[in-house]
C-alpha cells in the first residue's frame, strides 16, 4: 500500500535530478550560444579525413 508513497517520491527525486542538471547547464553557459555547437558537431569527421596526405580531395569549385 505504501508503495505509492515510495514510487511518487522516487519519481519526484528523478525529476529534481533532471532539474538540477538543467540549472547547472544554464549556469555553465550552455544555453548562451545555441548556434555554434550545432555546427561544431559536424566537424569531427572532417578532422579525421585531413591527415590523408594533401592530395586534393577538394573538387574544383571554381571556373
Amino acid at each position: 500500500m505504501s508503495v505509492i508513497y515510495l514510487l511518487i517520491s522516487i519519481s519526484i527525486l528523478v525529476a529534481i535530478g533532471f532539474f538540477i542538471a538543467f540549472i547547472r547547464a544554464v549556469k555553465t553557459g550552455q544555453y548562451d550560444d545555441d548556434y555554434t555547437p550545432s555546427v561544431r558537431m559536424l566537424f569531427d569527421d572532417e578532422l579525421r579525413i585531413t591527415p590523408n596526405k594533401s592530395v586534393q580531395t577538394t573538387e574544383e569549385k571554381q571556373i
Binding site: 532539474f19 555554434t36 561544431r40 566537424f43 586534393q56 574544383e60 569549385k61 571554381q62
Partner: protein
C-alpha cells in the same frame, strides 16, 4: 567575358591580376597566401564547408604595435595566470561554418594556442593560449594574416567581465518543472472517481502539489508582484496588476481549499499560467547579440596611439595622452584627440562625425579634431586637449546627447488594462455583494473565482507573441529591432525625418558628371594618367570612374597640396584641381565638389561629384508620403536641393546646414508639436537626433560595422522596403487588437461560470490552457499572414 571568382574570397578576378596557384585562381597575393598557409597545414577543408569563405587579409603593418605594451594586453585578457591566458576577440568577418572550423583549429597553425572556441551569434572567438610561447600580438597577427582581423577598440579596454542575466531562464525552468509535475499529480482529481485508492491518497497528492507550487508561486512569478507593486506606486494600472492579483488569489484560495478539504484547488492552472506567461516573455526577447544598439565613441576609438618622444615611437593608451604630446597617425587611423597638424598636409575624412564622405584637406598648423580619419600618408600632430576634453568626447558627454528620452510611452497592453482592471474589480465586488445576501460561503468562492478566471493570461500573452514573431520576421529581412517595444513605436510614427549623406545617398559611389567642352579621347587618356600618380581621394574616385586607357609615362608631375595637380606629358601641360588653382571663375562652385581641368592653359571643364541616391528612393518616398510627413535634414549645403526636389514627392521639407545639436533641436520641436518622429540616420552626427526621436533607425551598409546608438538597425540593401516594414508594424497592432477581442470573449465565458458559482477546478484547467493555445496560434498565424502579404 567570363568572370572568374577568387577561390578564397569569392570576389571577381581582374584578368591581368589573376594568380594561379595549385590549380586555383586567386584575386591577389593576400588570398593566395592564406590558401598557402592552410594547405601547408593540411587545413584545406576550410574550403569544403562553404564556397569561397575567406576575406583578403588587410595590411596591418604597425597597427597592433600597442599589443607590445604589457599593461594594455593585461587589460584585454579575460584571465591570466602563469601558464594560461584567455582572450575574447571580436571578429566581424565570422559568417559561416568554415569560419568556425578554421578559428577552432587555430592550435594547428600556431604553437602555444591550446584551444579556441567560437561564439557564432556574437561573432567572437575565445582563445586560450600559453603566454610564454605565443604573445597576444602574434595571435592577432596570425588572425589578421588569415583574413580574420579582430576588432579591438577602446570599449574592450574598459569593459569588465559582464555578467549575463539568466534569471528568466531559471524562472522558466522552475515554472516548467512545477507545472509538469503538478499536472501529472492532479490528473486523478480531474475524474473525481469515487474510488478507494484515490480517496485514500488524496491528502498526500494535494499536499505534494501544494509543495510543488511554492517555487513557482514565490520565485517564478516574483517578477509580476514587483511590477504590479511598482505600477500601483506610480499610479499606472498596467497589466501586471490583474495578473499578480489573479495569481495571489488563486494561491490563497487553493491553499484554503486543501486545508479545509473543500477541493483540490487551482494549483495546476496557477503553475500553468505562470509558465505560459514566462514563455511569452522569453519569446519576446529576441536579441541580435552581434549588433549593439548602445554604442558611444568608445567602440570606435582605438585603444592606443603612437606617441613620438624624441626619436622614440611608442604606443600609449589613449587615456595617457597629454597636452603637448606628439602623435603619429597612420593611414586609416582615427584621430583620438583634438590637436594641431604638424605634417605639411593631411586629408581627413570626417564622415564619422559629419556624415560628409569627401575628405577635407588640412595644412600644417591647422586644427584637427578628434573623430577624423587620416587617409593617405602618415601624419604627425601635436595634442591640444586630452581625450576627455576633445570636441567629440565633449559632444558625447553633453547633456542633450546623453539624455534618454523618457519612456512615457504606454504599451498597448497597458492601455487596455487601464480599463480592464477597474472593470474586473467592479464585477468581483458586485457579484460578491449579490451572493453575500444569500450565502457567505458561496460569496467568497465567487469573489475568488472571478479574480482567478479573469486573470488576463491570454491578454498578457497576445503582445509578446505577436511582437516576438514580427521581430523575427523583420530580422530575417535584415531590419533589426532593439526590442519589441520598437514595433509599437513604429506603428505610431507620423513624421519621418531622413538624414541626407549616407542615409538616402550611398557612401560607396559618387555620381560623377562632366560639365564643359567635350573631351577628346586623347584628353581622357591624359587625365587618367595624371590622376594615376595622385593619392588625393578625389583623384582616386575620378580615376576609378574614368574608363581604362593605356598607361603613359609622365614627363613631369607636381602635386600642390590643397590645390591640385600639374603635369606635363609629351609637351602638353595639364592642370587638375580647385577652381582657383586652374584659374576658372568661381560662381556657384562652392556648392559642389568638383575638379576643374585646364589643358595647355585652356579651361576645358570640370568633373562634378554628385551624390548617388539609393536605389528605389523615389518610389519609397512616394509610398511613404501617402501616410507620413517627410523631412530631409542635412548637415550639407544646399547644393543638392534641386536634384532632391525633382526626386522626392512635393511637400517633402528640405533643411540644410544643420549641426548635430540643431538636428536634435529640430526633432524636439516636432515632438513638442505632438508629432511622433522617426529619425533615419547613419553617422555620429545623427546620434543626438536618433536618441531624441521616438524611433531612431540607423542605416548600415554592413551591419557588422558599427552604427550609433539607436532603436533599430536597417541594412542598407533593404532601404527601399522601409515602407512595407512600417505597414507591417501597423498590421501587428491590428493583430493584437483582434486577439484582444478573442481573449476578452474567453474572459466573458469564464466569468459567466464564475459569477454563477460554478467554477470547478476542471473547468478552470480547461479554459486556461485552451485560451492560451488559441491566442498564441491565432497571433502567430495572423502575423505570418500579414508579413507574407506585405513583404515579398
Amino acid at each position: 567575358m567570363d568572370t572568374k571568382n577568387c577561390f578564397h574570397c569569392g570576389l571577381d578576378i581582374v584578368e591581368k591580376e589573376e594568380i594561379i596557384f595549385d590549380d586555383k585562381s586567386f584575386c591577389c597575393t593576400g588570398c593566395m597566401t592564406v590558401y598557402e598557409i592552410f594547405s601547408l597545414n593540411d587545413m584545406t577543408c576550410y574550403y569544403d564547408f562553404e564556397k569561397s569563405p575567406g576575406a583578403t587579409p588587410q595590411d596591418i603593418n604597425g597597427k597592433y604595435d600597442f599589443l607590445d605594451n604589457e599593461s594594455i594586453v593585461s587589460k584585454l585578457l579575460d584571465f591570466e595566470e602563469n601558464a594560461t591566458a584567455i582572450v575574447s576577440l571580436s571578429i566581424p568577418h565570422i559568417h559561416c561554418s568554415s569560419c568556425i572550423w578554421i578559428l577552432e583549429n587555430l592550435q594547428r597553425l600556431k604553437k602555444g594556442i591550446s584551444t579556441s572556441q567560437v561564439n557564432f551569434p556574437e561573432k567572437k572567438v575565445r582563445i586560450t593560449f600559453h603566454p610564454a610561447e605565443v604573445s597576444l600580438k602574434e595571435i592577432v597577427y596570425l588572425l589578421s594574416g588569415i583574413g580574420y582581423e579582430p576588432y579591438i577598440s577602446l570599449e574592450n579596454y574598459e569593459a569588465g567581465s559582464n555578467t549575463v542575466d539568466r534569471s528568466l531562464t531559471y524562472k522558466l525552468g522552475v515554472a516548467f518543472f512545477c507545472f509538469g509535475n503538478i499536472m501529472l499529480l492532479s490528473f486523478p482529481e480531474y475524474f473525481e472517481v469515487k474510488e478507494y485508492w484515490l480517496d485514500q491518497y488524496r491528502g498526500f497528492f494535494r499536499w505534494l502539489i501544494f509543495a510543488l507550487s511554492l517555487p513557482s508561486f514565490f520565485y517564478s512569478a516574483s517578477g509580476y508582484y514587483v511590477s504590479a507593486y511598482k505600477s500601483i506606486r506610480s499610479k499606472m494600472l498596467n497589466i501586471d496588476i490583474p495578473i499578480a492579483l489573479g495569481i495571489i488569489v488563486m494561491f490563497v484560495r487553493s491553499t484554503v481549499d486543501i486545508v479545509m478539504d473543500y477541493g483540490s484547488g487551482f494549483f495546476d492552472s496557477l503553475t500553468g499560467l505562470v509558465f505560459f506567461m514566462l514563455l511569452g516573455k522569453m519569446f519576446q526577447i529576441k536579441t541580435y547579440s552581434f549588433l549593439s544598439f548602445e554604442r558611444d565613441f568608445k567602440s570606435y576609438f582605438p585603444i592606443a596611439i603612437t606617441r613620438i618622444q624624441g626619436n622614440l615611437e611608442e604606443s600609449v593608451p589613449i587615456y595617457d595622452i597629454q597636452k603637448g604630446d606628439r602623435l603619429l597617425i597612420r593611414n586609416q587611423e582615427l584621430i583620438p584627440v583634438d590637436g594641431i597638424l604638424i605634417t605639411e598636409t593631411a586629408d581627413i575624412d570626417y564622415s564619422f562625425v559629419t556624415g560628409e564622405a569627401i575628405p577635407i584637406t588640412k595644412k600644417s598648423g591647422d586644427k584637427v579634431f578628434a573623430g577624423g580619419k587620416q587617409i593617405g600618408k602618415m601624419i604627425e600632430m601635436e595634442v591640444l586637449y586630452s581625450v576627455s576634453q576633445s570636441y567629440l568626447t565633449q559632444l558625447w558627454s553633453n547633456d542633450v546627447f546623453q539624455k534618454n528620452v523618457e519612456q512615457k510611452h504606454k504599451t498597448i497592453t497597458d492601455q487596455i488594462s487601464r480599463y480592464f482592471t477597474p472593470i474586473l474589480l467592479l464585477i468581483a465586488f458586485l457579484s460578491f455583494g449579490y451572493w453575500i445576501l444569500k450565502d457567505t460561503n458561496t460569496a467568497f468562492n465567487v469573489f475568488t473565482a472571478v479574480l482567478i478566471v479573469a486573470c488576463p493570461c491570454a491578454l498578457a500573452l497576445t503582445a509578446p507573441f505577436t511582437f516576438g514573431n514580427i521581430l523575427r520576421i523583420l530580422g530575417k529581412k535584415k531590419f533589426y529591432l532593439k526590442n519589441a517595444l520598437v514595433i509599437e513605436q513604429l506603428a505610431k510614427v507620423d513624421t519621418i525625418v531622413f538624414d541626407k549623406t549616407g542615409t538616402i545617398t550611398t557612401n560607396k559611389k559618387s555620381n560623377i558628371a562632366f560639365q564643359g567642352n567635350s573631351l577628346s579621347e586623347a584628353d581622357l587618356v591624359l587625365i587618367k594618367n595624371v590622376l594615376r600618380a595622385s593619392n588625393h581621394p578625389l583623384s582616386r574616385m575620378l580615376y576609378d570612374f574614368l574608363p581604362e586607357t593605356q598607361k603613359l609615362k609622365l614627363d613631369h608631375f607636381a602635386e600642390i597640396t590643397g590645390k591640385g595637380i600639374q603635369a606635363t606629358l609629351n609637351g602638353t601641360t595639364i592642370q587638375l584641381g580647385s577652381a582657383s588653382f586652374v584659374g576658372a571663375n568661381e560662381e556657384n562652385a562652392i556648392q559642389q565638389t568638383s575638379v576643374h581641368i585646364t589643358i595647355n592653359e585652356n579651361y576645358i571643364g570640370k568633373y562634378v561629384f554628385n551624390n548617388q541616391y539609393r536605389e528605389g528612393l523615389s518610389s519609397l518616398f512616394a509610398h511613404l508620403s501617402q501616410g507620413y510627413q517627410l523631412k530631409i535634414l542635412s548637415g550639407d549645403n544646399e547644393g543638392e536641393q534641386k536634384a532632391l526636389e525633382q526626386l522626392l514627392p512635393p511637400g517633402t521639407e528640405l533643411i540644410f546646414n544643420q549641426k548635430p545639436e540643431q538636428k536634435l533641436e529640430f526633432i524636439k520641436n516636432l515632438q513638442e508639436k505632438g508629432q511622433n518622429v522617426m529619425m533615419v540616420g547613419d553617422g555620429l552626427n545623427d546620434a543626438g537626433a536618433l536618441a531624441q526621436s521616438n524611433v531612431g533607425i540607423s542605416i548600415a551598409e554592413n551591419v557588422n560595422v558599427f552604427s550609433p546608438a539607436c532603436d533599430a538597425i536597417l541594412d542598407a540593401n533593404v532601404f527601399d522596403q522601409l515602407d512595407s516594414f512600417m505597414a507591417l508594424s501597423k498590421k501587428a497592432i491590428t493583430t493584437i487588437k483582434m486577439s484582444f477581442t478573442v481573449s476578452l470573449l474567453y474572459n466573458v465565458v469564464g466569468l459567466s461560470f464564475a459569477i454563477t458559482g460554478n467554477l470547478l477546478p476542471l473547468v478552470a484547467a480547461i479554459i486556461m490552457p485552451l485560451s492560451t493555445i488559441t491566442i498564441v496560434s491565432f497571433v502567430t498565424v495572423m502575423s505570418n499572414y500579414y508579413s507574407r502579404r506585405r513583404l515579398q
